[in-house]
């Protein structure tokens, strides 16, 4: 067994142990599973369960969205960035004189300039440090070296070409295993000269080792979950607008977490927080890539501060792919053990995380490897031990999520691959094998060996539904026939468990800021409403789904509710949208705030109806006297009275705010089945069918859930078959454009077939769990398992993603099939 951590070597930072407090009673439970989406409001109200068309769409389909590059302010300047052509090099000199002589060039900002203000370094969200601009050396290819400010984006780009930087190249550290040897140190700025960042363990090692010692069957596999990039179609950018007269810094930026960013900006720059306004306008996709603070944001803000003018900075695609935070890049040495009956009993993992030049992940701070310890997945496994090290290499810092809740994708890929291997080794059908080893519905609330308390689940129901929908048994028969004829067909399953909705504040924070989230609802006198949130949609449809939650609770038509997010001057504080946390946290806050309003509305209704509160009952959109529904006051009547005719002893107005702190995370799950045909001659994999059954608890809007699932599936297909950020031996990024980094188009993306089961979350106010990332997490192993299933009889046990035709062709060739 490989253990990457060398006890004789100094350990950097601290050795971390994951902390999880006990989950309060009732937060996990056995909950009945149904398929019926509950709809209890009429279409004109459009509460939960309605397939409501999205409220945000009219502006997008008419070209009237406002993304950051659409912001145009008077006197606005443009910033462009000089980037390093080396992965690791000393900077000897920066000669900007030619650029500064150009018409329209106002300034060149270097690391030395920032150093004068103490701004050449910044903290990452993981309390590591990252250069804003270098003063001594660069540590990754395409790193920001200095920036030009000009009157026009074309002039700024010309000026970049006129800046001459003298570099002295150093050895690149590309291979994380080499990095462990500490021959070349990436972060020479650190007190301890080592590439090791942290060491982290979870689970009971002795118990796990013992289980393995007694196990009848063990499968073992090294896997690399490669470095990928979210590549939202909109890149990152900002307009920083410092007004010297008001001393206010207004920043439009592509951020998924505007409030946290405001606080970080205040702490980093020393500007008072009330003088910073972050506006996150319409965002063209985030997927985790718009959570961190990138150097460009800080430089742009400094430029605006120094020049007293608005400064726009928009990355181009190459900068985005080459320098922004990556995702994944986990090397896993994983073993799974089963007893003589085939029952899974143990899981042992040694992992190495390649973080690039800084630990710039966006995990909750006590979880250096994110929520990877969910790695026993949907299975009842007695003992699990995970041992992880992280290293610096000369690659861009990371790693953020790629539409995934903090490293859950890596964990799920691993356990789903291993389980499939075990089933194949034992000669048991992979579906049947999963059914045998699932945590059974009656085992909930289930406590995993790594300390998670799963809130609710029914894994057999989801797998059974997927099998019925795809016609599993028939497919297996077809596969057997085809195999006789020498044709290659594979069926792959993935039965994943997600963990989302960070989080309970006692365990989950980012830079010390607790991971609650918020909603503030104001009902206007005419019964319409505005609701503001601490989250920020990047396409998830919050303007619709949050309105539906409020409509459900208050009976105000969803169309009468304006949802606003992303302006820190007006929205309540929150941690933002990523890791599928919006519905579990802010969605819950919406329901709770609405309930506070309903409680006040009851007092007003009692006053208006001259009844006692105890005699009133709520019915869709009104308080009515029990037994005589015609004696009622609608929420609109009550809203008007709240400003015109409220009881003397009650404050005027009808509004409420809620900061929701979930008692536990939520555990969405699902079962996916993929059918592939493999071309023996070319190694090409054709996905013939893909069925996805998701259980995200109660469904707010089925249309939006379908859309989230489809999108997530294509983003799961992408790393499974196409995407990988690749470096050469010098640390040069070879995949810096969409011509090399391949996003699936409508042609590669199959026609997804989706369905659901509903097992509500027992602790969430509306029983919802979050869904945006489940498919990205669940899809890759279904595809990988299908391909390996097609080739298993030829002796192929594993292929690392992305499963390219070349890899398949090579595997076939090694098996003596292809020539």
């Amino acid at each position: 067994m490989t253990v990457y951590h060398d006890p004789n070597k100094p350990r950097h930072v601290d050795d971390r142990v994951e902390v999880k407090h006990p989950v309060p009673e009732g937060a996990s439970a056995k909950v009945e599973t149904t398929e019926q989406i509950a709809v209890t409001t009429p279409p004109e109200v459009c509460g939960m369960g309605h397939r409501m068309k999205r409220k945000e769409d009219p502006r997008f389909i008419q070209g009237r969205g406002q993304y950051v590059d659409d912001v145009k302010l008077p006197g606005m300047l443009y910033m462009d960035i000089v980037r390093s052509p080396y992965a690791h090099a000393k900077i000897l000199d920066i000669d900007a004189s030619a650029a500064l002589e150009m018409d329209g060039v106002l300034a060149v900002i270097t690391g030395k300039d920032l150093e004068a203000h103490g701004l050449h370094w910044m903290p990452t969200l993981m309390s590591d440090t990252q250069m804003v601009l270098p003063t001594e050396k660069v540590v990754y290819y395409a790193q920001e070296v200095c920036a030009v400010i000009a009157t026009d984006r074309y002039i700024a780009a010309d000026a970049v070409e006129n800046i001459f930087v003298d570099y002295d190249p150093l050895d690149a550290v590309v291979d994380p295993f080499k990095a462990l040897e500490d021959e070349t140190i990436v972060r020479t700025d650190k007190e301890v000269q080592t590439n090791r960042i942290w060491h982290w363990e979870v689970g009971d090692q002795a118990a796990t080792d013992e289980v393995f010692a007694n196990a009848k069957h063990v499968v073992k596999q090294y896997m690399h979950i490669p470095r990928i990039h979210v590549a939202s179609i909109e890149t990152c950018g900002m307009v920083a607008n410092y007004n010297p007269a008001t001393e206010k810094m207004q920043i439009y930026m592509t951020t998924q977490a505007p409030h946290a960013i405001r606080t970080v900006f205040a702490l980093v720059t020393g500007l008072p927080e009330h003088k910073i306004q972050i506006i996150s306008p319409d965002i063209g996709g985030g997927f985790g890539g718009k959570v961190p603070v990138y150097p460009g944001y800080v430089i742009g803000a400094v430029a605006s501060l120094l020049l007293g003018k608005p400064v726009k900075w928009i990355e181009d695609r190459s900068e985005n792919l080459q320098a922004d935070s990556f995702a994944r890049d986990y090397h896993l040495e994983a073993e799974l053990a089963a007893d003589e009956n085939g029952k899974l009993v143990g899981l042992r993992v040694n992992g190495l995380a390649d973080h690039g030049a800084a630990d710039a992940a966006a995990n909750p701070s006590k979880f250096p490897a994110g929520l990877f310890s969910i790695c026993s997945g949907s299975y009842d496994i007695e003992a699990t031990h995970v041992n992880f090290d992280a290293v610096y290499t000369t690659k861009p810092p990371g790693g953020v999520a790629y539409r995934c809740s903090f490293r859950v994708t890596e964990a799920v890929h691993m356990i789903e691959r291993l389980t499939d291997m075990m089933a194949h080794d034992l000669g048991i059908d992979p579906a049947e094998y999963r059914m045998q080893n699932f945590i059974q519905p009656e085992q909930f609330p289930y406590k995993s060996a790594t300390g998670w308390e799963y809130d609710s689940g029914n894994y057999p129901a989801a797998l059974k539904k997927a099998m019925d929908m795809i016609g599993y048994d028939e497919l297996r028969r077809e596969q057997a026939e085809k195999r006789e004829r020498g044709e290659l067909m594979g069926i792959g399953i993935s039965s994943f468990t997600e963990v989302v909705g960070a989080g309970p504040a006692k365990d989950y924070d980012i830079l010390g800021i607790k991971m609650f989230d918020s909603a503030e609802i104001r009902i206007h006198p005419t019964g319409k409403a505005i609701a503001r949130f601490g989250t920020k949609s990047q396409g998830q449809g919050h303007e619709t789904t949050y309105a539906q939650i409020i409509a459900q609770e208050l009976g105000i038509p969803a169309n009468d509710i304006e949802v606003e997010e992303g302006d820190t001057d007006t929205a309540p504080y929150g941690l933002g949208t990523y890791a599928s946390r919006s519905t579990p946290t802010a969605g819950a806050a919406a329901a709770m705030a609405a309930r506070k309003i309903r409680a006040k509305a009851k007092k007003i209704a009692a006053h208006l109806l001259e009844a006692s509160e105890e005699d009133l009952e709520w019915n869709v959109n009104q308080w009515q006297v029990k037994g005589s529904p015609d004696q009622a006051k609608t929420i609109q009547d009550i809203a008007f009275a709240a400003y015109t005719n409220h009881p003397d002893d009650l404050e005027a107005g009808l509004e409420a705010t809620d900061y929701y702190n979930p008692p536990n995370l939520t555990f969405p799950f699902g079962s996916y089945i993929c059918v592939v045909d493999v071309d023996k001659g070319t190694g090409e994999v054709h996905i013939r069918r893909f069925v996805a059954i998701d259980d995200c608890g109660n469904i707010i809007n089925p249309l939006v859930v379908e859309g989230q699932v489809h999108g997530g599936l294509t983003m799961g297909l992408a790393p499974a078959m196409f995407e990988e950020i690749v470096y050469d031996e010098y640390g040069t990024c070879l995949t810096g454009t969409f011509a090399d980094y391949l996003l699936p188009t409508a042609v590669e993306s199959p026609k997804w077939e989706t369905g659901h089961t509903i097992t509500p979350s027992p602790h969430h106010p509306i029983g919802a769990k979050g869904v945006g990332e489940s498919p990205t997490v669940g899809a890759p192993p279904a595809i990988a398992n299908a391909v390996v299933d097609a080739l298993w009889h030829l002796g192929v046990r594993h292929i690392d993603i992305p499963i390219t035709p070349q890899k398949v062709w090579q595997a076939l060739r090694d098996a003596g099939v292809s020539d």
Binding site: K53, R54, E56, D57, P58, R59, F60, I61, Q62, G63, R64, G65, Q66, Y67, D69, D70, K72, R153, Y154, V230, A231, S232, I233, E234, T235, D282, I283, G284, G285, F287, D316, R317, S318, Q538, G539, Q540, G541, L703, V704, E706, G707, Q708, V709, H710, G711, G712, L713, T714, M715, T737, F738, A739, L743, T745, A746, V747, S749, K751, W752
Partner: protein, 162 residues
């Protein structure tokens, strides 16, 4: 850099300007005309976010200079709805949830419009190939396909009715 006088008809209105020879059409549309519905997503003619119609054909406006469009008729997403009435494609995208973040949407709409003008009744496969020059990171394409099918049907009905 030499300047050129150009006149381009955008959404039926003529616009004349003096532009640098290197000014990209997409920047002319977005910055000179303030029509910011046309987006930019890459540098390699790969993503299609910048797609507009030039004399009825879908073109990636990031890969064309403004001067090359001199005298041409350009259509952008802002000109799709007529008299407050959404185009059937816009309607389809809304009805069928053919968009999420909306960033790819204007380009998708333009490519789809071109496709339906050539092939009013495309198969699912033809639709998928027809929009294969446009990347969407959010939707997984299923619902974009449905949106285009919705529009194809509606346009055909309108044709019959006319």
């Amino acid at each position: 850099m030499s300047k050129h006088s150009i006149t381009i008809s955008v959404n039926g209105t003529d616009h004349s300007a003096e532009v640098d020879s290197r000014l990209l059409l997409v920047h002319f549309i977005r910055e000179n005309l303030d029509l910011t519905g046309t987006h930019i997503g890459c540098d390699t003619t790969s993503c299609g976010a910048c797609t507009v119609l030039i004399n009825g054909r879908a073109v990636k406006s990031c890969t064309m200079f403004a001067v090359q469009a001199n005298g041409a008729e350009v259509d952008t997403v802002e000109g799709m709805a007529e008299g407050g009435q959404l185009h059937p494609l816009q309607e389809g995208f809304w009805e069928k949830h053919g968009l999420q973040c909306g960033y790819c949407t204007p380009g998708m709409l333009m490519s789809a419009k071109h496709l339906l003008s050539k092939n009013p009744n495309p198969t699912e496969d033809e639709i998928r190939w027809g929009i294969s020059g446009n990347l969407c990171r959010c939707t997984g394409y299923n619902k974009i396909v449905e949106a285009i099918q919705y529009a194809a049907e509606k346009l055909q009905q309108e044709e019959v009715a006319a």
